[in-house]
């Protein structure tokens, strides 16, 4: 599939039916024994067979889009673990693994997460440094052969805009971007205080094709946010909630929500006009399977129609 065709097809396809993203990668890697503290992206190199297995499980569960294991594979983020020299190899290998798991008619999204650095004046990095880090990662992902970009968990609108600009410097592939919002008494805000409506507007202006939210909120809490987002933009919307709120049991974080109730909440969001849905922390192939199951036979009215 050429990039141009895929751009047309995934956005066009989403006008006909809801499309499913995969669930958590980190949660799955931990369940396969990834030691805490080890950057998950390193497993593209050391345990490619496990990353491949996880991708395949999500495809079997019914995901239309799988996301490369490159959430923390920007130069700035890898630098924190002192492995930025492996950036090229980590990203390339990640795409190769995902491609191997991805049959015709499904999509590989190049996944990009925040750098973990704060922009001036709160932190030390400059906008142009962020943009450079994102375009660097995006170029490797693009040339390795992805179908679209999925930028996630952005808690600072300015960093999100740097990501979009960075990606757009090197590619015109479909660009999905998720911010992460907390619920506050006055509505939904990012950690840095960015509010929903103006954030989505600026993301669109910067060149995003699909906008939405992931992480922080469980599926139940995200329903209200989905309706706020729907009112705020005409772009297609993506949601990737967590599997409920994390609980600490005997020193381990667990997500107690069951796939059926998660799927039920996701279904409500699709009915509100959300076009793409997947899962974030705590979700597994079971969650995606359950959404797929509950979608069967549903008459879907896509967003914006």
């Amino acid at each position: 599939m050429s990039p141009k065709e895929s751009k047309k097809s995934i956005l066009d396809l989403s006008r006909r039916r809801a499309l499913l993203f995969d669930g958590a990668m980190g949660t799955m890697l931990f369940s396969y024994g990834l030691p805490f503290g080890t950057p998950p992206e390193l497993w593209n190199l050391s345990h490619p067979e496990i990353v491949l297995k996880i991708h395949k499980k999500y495809i079997q569960a019914g995901a239309d889009v799988i996301q490369t294991n490159t959430f923390g594979a920007s130069s700035l983020k890898l630098k924190k673990s002192g492995i930025e020299k492996k950036m090229d190899k980590i990203n390339k290998t990640a795409v190769k693994i995902a491609r191997k798991a991805c049959p015709d008619g499904k999509y590989v999204a190049g996944n990009i997460g925040p750098t973990g650095e704060f922009l001036e004046p709160v932190g030390k990095v400059k906008y142009k440094d962020l943009k450079k880090a994102f375009s660097g990662q995006a170029e490797i992902l693009r040339s390795a052969g992805i179908d679209l970009f999925s930028v996630e968990t952005m808690y600072d609108l300015r960093e999100a805009l740097a990501a979009i600009e960075g990606v757009r410097e090197v590619s015109s592939l479909p660009l999905f971007i998720c911010m992460t919002f907390e619920k506050k008494s006055k509505g939904y805000f990012t950690l840095m205080g960015d509010e929903v409506s103006s954030s989505l507007k600026k993301l669109k202006q910067a060149g995003a094709d699909v906008v939405g939210a992931n992480c922080t909120l469980g599926s139940k809490e995200m329903i209200k946010l989905a309706s706020v987002m729907k009112k705020s933009t005409k772009l297609p919307i993506i949601v990737q909630p967590n599997a409920g709120m994390p609980k600490l049991v005997k020193g381990k974080t667990v997500y107690l929500q069951k796939p059926a109730s998660f799927a039920n909440d996701v279904l409500k969001m699709l009915k509100l006009g959300v076009s793409f849905a997947g899962g974030c922390c705590g979700t597994t192939p079971e969650f995606i399977k359950m959404i797929k199951k509950s979608l069967t036979g549903l008459e879907y009215k896509p967003s914006g129609l």
């Binding site: 030691p35 805490f36 704060f118 008494s185 805000f189 205080g193 994390p246 005997k250 381990k252 974080t253």
Partner: protein, 223 residues
């Protein structure tokens, strides 16, 4: 309080609310020159500003940037105001000392640094050991600097088990009773603190300050 001083303190308060570090520095310098009581300027001026920001943050009407910039302004002001205080031994003794770090195996620093900044903005002397701090190093530094509080931060659930090793290390070094261990970070909780034998738990940076101040209050009452 005379009107002039009152206005001055209000200016300090506003400099913090506005996150204006330069203004805070300018006011602090002016305070030292004018011979104002440094403690008064810190407590009734700068710290009131950061308290207000903390309240607003808890209510969801201000966010991380305001909080960080406000805290930076307080810190900048305090460091100037402290110069005369620190020259006297008595003054130095009065600052409660805190050692803080993110636990071994965990490189998350945002929350930890925010706690360090807020504590320091509220008049604590903070020694920040950074991230991925070995258990032995916490013990070694606690021995060297004899802090009132040892703050352990964690974001990862498995590496947070290393906090147990720090507490065991403190016991072995006969330091356990000489300081209070405070834990925090997303997966931590009051029950986690109890489970591992820590003294205190703080949900966030604002609560860390409150918890530490409350503890100091208790200690001084006991004495």
């Amino acid at each position: 309080m005379e009107r002039k001083l009152k206005n001055f303190l209000e200016e300090c308060y506003n400099a913090v609310l506005e996150g204006d570090k330069q203004k805070a520095e300018k006011l602090a310098t002016e305070a030292v020159k004018s011979g104002y009581d440094s403690y008064l300027v810190i407590e009734k001026g700068l710290v009131q500003g950061i308290k207000k920001l903390g309240e607003k943050w808890e209510q969801g009407s201000c966010f991380l940037p305001e909080l960080v910039l406000g805290a930076e302004a307080v810190k900048a002001g305090i460091s100037i105001l402290q110069e005369p205080i620190l020259k006297s031994k008595a003054g130095r003794k009065n600052l409660p000392r805190v050692i803080i770090g993110t636990i071994e195996g965990d490189i998350h620093d945002i929350g930890k640094t925010l706690v360090a900044t807020m504590l320091s903005a509220n008049g604590f002397e903070v020694i920040d050991l950074g991230v991925d701090v070995k258990s032995d190093n916490f013990v070694k530094m606690a021995k060297k600097y004899e802090p009132r509080f040892l703050c352990l931060s964690s974001l990862l659930t498995t590496t947070m088990q290393n906090e147990i090793r720090v507490i065991e290390g403190l016991k072995k070094a006969n330091l356990r009773k000489k300081l209070k261990v405070m834990v925090g970070g997303a997966p931590a909780s009051l029950s986690w603190a109890k489970e591992i034998g820590a003294d205190l738990y703080a949900e966030n940076a604002i609560s860390a300050v409150k918890v530490a101040q409350r503890e100091i209050g208790h200690e001084s009452k006991r004495k």
